[in-house]
Structures are given as structure tokens and as C-alpha cells.
């Protein structure tokens, strides 16, 4: 049999673009759900690490250390085959990625909260705010702005780590790509890898630019950037 010309491999990729885009949809959904779960757990966790005390603080710190120290592959396999949190691969992958992201995000927010000058809290208390209100109305809004760059990193990490969901059979972007060259035109492996990488790049680029805009829009007027 003659060696298939290179064009036919690219034609194969183009012909299966709809499948790759469906996989991209799963990747986007998984990323968004995981980041959201990570934020809902990670932001309070970061606040507890800065302002909390006693057993709650120790529990949050320990959970963070364990989650950050365990490979994602182990977390996802443990949750699916060990604890069986859900029979749905999508839900399990979201929980695994969300928990790991929460552990990372808690550190982003801890750093951001600690970076706000202590005088801000004192000043807020001096005008009669309670401790909780001062944190919520004065420190948190400033800290959230400062956490955008760290958050951009975290988004990029979660986006690409969604590909680990392949081990529990979730049909995300990389899984679809791999299935294409393993089941159809096996010579198209390189072309498919390049296409998949390009899609990941576009997703990362678009989100980072959007977060840049968000950062510009909400940056502190007359702040460090003056």
C-alpha cells in the first residue's frame, strides 16, 4: 500500500473537527465547573487560613497540604474507583479537579489577603466597622483584585489537567483526539496532536485576555500602576 500523502491526514483532522469540538465542549464545561467548585471552597479556605484559629484552621491547612501533595491522577482514581463519589465520570472529574484547585486557590487568596496592608483593617475598625464587616467590605475587595494574576495561572493549569479524566473514560478533548488516531487514520497522530494543542492554546489565550480586561477594569484607581 502506498504511503498516504500528508494532505490526507490534515483532511482527516478537518473531517473530524466536529468530534474534536464536541470534546472541546466537554473540556470547557469540566474546566468551568472545576474552577467554580475550586473557588467556592478555596476562597473561604484561604480566608480561614489568614483570619481563622483553632481546630478549623488546622483542619483546613491539613486538607490543603494533603490535596496539594497528592498527584491528581491518584485523587481522581481514588474518587472514582475507591470512594465512588458518583457513577458519572464528569461529576467525579469535577470533584477531583475542584478539590485540587481549591487547595491551590486557597493559597492564591491567602497571599492576596495577606498582601493588603494591616492599616486598612485598623482604619476600618476605627470608623466603627466590626471585624467581619471590615474584612468583607475593605480587605476582600482589594485582595480579590490582587488575586487575578494568580488566578490566571490556576485557570491554565486546570484547563490542561482536565485531560487526566481520560483514565475514567471521560470524552474530553484529548480523549477524542487519541480515539481518532487510534481508531481511524493512525498516520494522523502528529496532525491531531498539533490541532488539539492549538485548541488548548486558543482557550488559554482567550481566557487570559478576558481576565486581563477584567483586571484592568477593576484595578484600584490611582493604584500602583499610576
Amino acid at each position: 500500500m502506498p504511503l498516504l500523502p500528508l494532505q490526507s491526514d490534515w483532511a482527516f483532522v478537518v473531517g473530524n473537527l466536529d468530534l474534536l469540538l464536541a470534546g472541546t465542549g466537554v473540556t470547557i464545561g469540566l474546566t468551568a465547573a472545576s474552577i467554580l467548585l475550586g473557588f467556592l471552597l478555596g476562597f473561604p479556605a484561604g480566608a480561614v487560613e489568614v483570619y481563622g484559629s483553632g481546630p478549623l484552621k488546622r483542619a483546613v491547612e491539613t486538607a490543603g497540604v494533603v490535596l496539594r501533595g497528592t498527584p491528581l491522577l491518584v485523587i481522581i482514581i481514588l474518587l472514582f474507583f475507591g470512594l465512588s463519589v458518583s457513577s458519572s465520570a464528569f461529576v467525579t472529574a469535577t470533584v477531583a479537579l475542584g478539590l485540587r484547585s481549591a487547595a491551590y486557590q486557597s493559597q492564591i487568596f491567602r497571599g492576596a489577603l495577606q498582601s493588603v496592608d494591616e492599616g486598612q483593617l485598623e482604619a476600618a475598625r476605627a470608623v466603627g466597622m466590626g471585624r467581619l464587616q471590615a474584612i468583607r467590605s475593605v480587605v476582600v475587595p482589594q485582595a480579590l483584585r490582587r488575586s487575578v494574576p494568580g488566578f490566571q495561572n490556576e485557570f491554565t493549569i486546570v484547563l490542561k489537567d482536565t485531560s487526566i479524566a481520560i483514565v475514567i473514560g471521560l470524552g474530553e478533548l484529548l480523549t477524542v483526539g487519541q480515539n481518532l488516531y487510534q481508531g481511524g487514520q493512525s498516520t494522523a497522530a502528529l496532525e491531531i496532536f498539533l490541532t488539539v494543542s492549538l485548541i488548548y492554546f486558543v482557550l488559554t489565550f482567550v481566557t487570559n485576555r478576558s481576565l486581563d480586561r477584567l483586571d484592568d477594569r477593576f484595578s484600584i484607581p490611582g493604584g500602583e500602576r499610576a
Binding site: I28, F81, Y181, S186
Partner: protein, 264 residues
């Protein structure tokens, strides 16, 4: 930095669009495993042509057709297929995510300790694949001495290299390259980074038909493929064995081998 930021409306519609994607994506993902009813879920690992692969998004292959034909002969009904990586199949089975494995799985003692197998449904040997236009044409395993060779991680091809070449000292450990899947091993063979790949014979024939590679010789391992089942599922195993016997006695089995292995 530009200052034409996203308007609030644009921002909200972006967020809203993402939320829709999330809720749609939530509809994907698999159903449950066995709960004692007669509905069963099968599991496989696509990427092993012609036994199982994805074509146009559909799961197809010899194992898929055969298991469906076998289950049709029993009182059970097949609820659907779940896809995993090959190494995740046994945990998925023991954890009841799936009830049967149809993935060109070789029956061996190691796997038999964790799961049970049905009667064999296919015999395979290992093929040694080399470049078509290369000057290297080995005729026995000993000819591979001193040559860089490759196989897929966790397969019988890898076991063959380990037990027949590396352990007796005929091949240096550093000459063995292990790959995540067959396609990448063949790719590396074509690129000249390795001189031979050891893989299952039917899969090797598929590659030989598609690419400038050829089967130099086959190594008889006499291995048998079986469907994997849970150890406590004796009634179901018996039903599958009876179904398999019926399919083999009729013309279905021959039709399926012609369909999937015939046109090479």
C-alpha cells in the same frame, strides 16, 4: 494595555454561555453499573483496531459486535458501553462500574487472581513489526539482541520482551522503549528511533496495511482473549459461556471474523 474592556453585558453573556455549556456537559458521562438486574454494562478501551476503536465518534470493532451477539443469546440485555483506558478496566470491573470487559484482554494468571474470564473467544500471537524499506529483517527473537525495540505499556508484547529477551540477558534494559499506545510505538519505528515493535498479530496486520511497515515474523505465545467478569458473578459468566458457544456454532462468529479480519 488597551482600555476597551468588556462591557458588563458582554461579560454577563460570556458567563451565561459558560453556564449553559456546564449544564449541557453535565448530561454526558456514564450510567451506573450492575445492581443485580439483568441489565449489564460493558466496558472497553478503544484504540486496539480491529478489536475496538472509535470511528466517526462511534465505538466499533470485533469485540463490540461479538459481545453484543453473545449477550443477545442470553437472558441479559446490554444497557450500553463505557470507555476507559486499558489499565482502568479491571478496577472499573471490580468496582461494578461495568459488568463485563470486552477489550482484547489476554487471559493470564496475574489477571485471573483479581477477575474471572469467560471461555476464550480468540487466539493471538505476537508479531514483530519492522520498517518495510529497512535492511533489518529478523527471523527470531534472538535477532533482536542489541537492537532498540518497543511495545505498549502493560501489554503481552511488553511481557514477551521482558521474559524472553531482557530476563535471559539477550537485550539490555536500556534498549527497550515503552509507549503509552501502539500508534506512538509505530510512529517511532517509522522515524527510525527503534528497529522493531512487538504487538498482537491482528493489530500488526492493520498497521502493515496502512503504513510502510511489515511483519518480520510472529512469535507463538498461544495466548487467548476472554471476556473479563467479576469473580462472584458465576451465573452471568455461565450465561456468557453458553451464549459464546451458540455464537461459535452458528455462522455469526465466522461472519464477524470475516468482517473485521478478512479485508486485510
Amino acid at each position: 494595555m488597551s482600555d476597551d474592556g468588556l462591557s458588563r453585558r458582554q461579560y454577563l453573556s460570556t458567563v451565561g454561555g459558560t453556564a449553559v455549556t456546564v449544564s449541557l456537559a453535565g448530561c454526558f458521562g456514564g450510567g451506573g453499573g450492575g445492581d443485580g438486574s439483568t441489565e449489564i454494562t460493558a466496558g472497553t478501551a478503544p484504540g486496539f483496531p480491529p478489536f475496538e476503536m472509535k470511528q466517526d465518534g462511534e465505538l466499533v470493532g470485533f469485540d463490540v459486535d461479538l459481545l453484543e451477539a453473545v449477550v443477545d443469546e442470553t437472558d441479559y440485555t446490554l444497557a450500553g458501553w463505557e470507555e476507559y483506558e486499558f489499565k482502568s478496566l479491571i478496577p472499573a470491573l471490580t468496582n461494578s462500574n461495568i459488568d463485563v470487559v470486552a477489550a482484547g484482554m489476554t487471559i493470564n494468571d496475574e489477571r485471573d487472581q483479581t477477575i474471572d474470564f469467560t471461555d476464550p473467544y480468540y487466539s493471538s500471537n505476537q508479531a514483530i513489526v519492522v520498517r518495510e524499506d529497512g535492511d533489518f529483517s529478523p527471523s527470531s527473537l534472538s535477532d533482536l539482541s542489541g537492537r532498540p525495540v518497543g511495545a505498549q505499556k502493560g501489554t503481552t508484547g511488553e511481557s514477551t520482551i521482558q521474559s524472553e529477551l531482557i530476563e535471559p540477558g539477550n537485550l539490555e534494559e536500556s534498549n527497550y522503549n515503552s509507549y503509552g499506545n501502539y500508534v506512538l510505538a509505530i510512529e517511532d519505528l517509522q522515524n527510525g528511533n527503534i528497529d522493531a515493535v512487538v504487538i498482537d498479530e491482528p493489530v500488526a496486520q492493520t498497521f502493515a496495511a496502512q503504513r510502510p511497515v511489515t511483519i518480520a515474523f510472529t512469535y507463538e505465545t498461544g495466548e487467548n482473549f476472554g471476556f473479563g467478569v467479576r469473580e462472584d458473578d458465576d451465573e452471568f459468566t455461565q450465561a456468557l459461556n453458553d451464549g459464546l458457544a451458540t455464537v461459535r456454532d452458528g455462522s455469526t462468529y465466522q461472519d464477524l471474523t470475516n468482517k473485521w479480519f478478512g479485508q486485510q
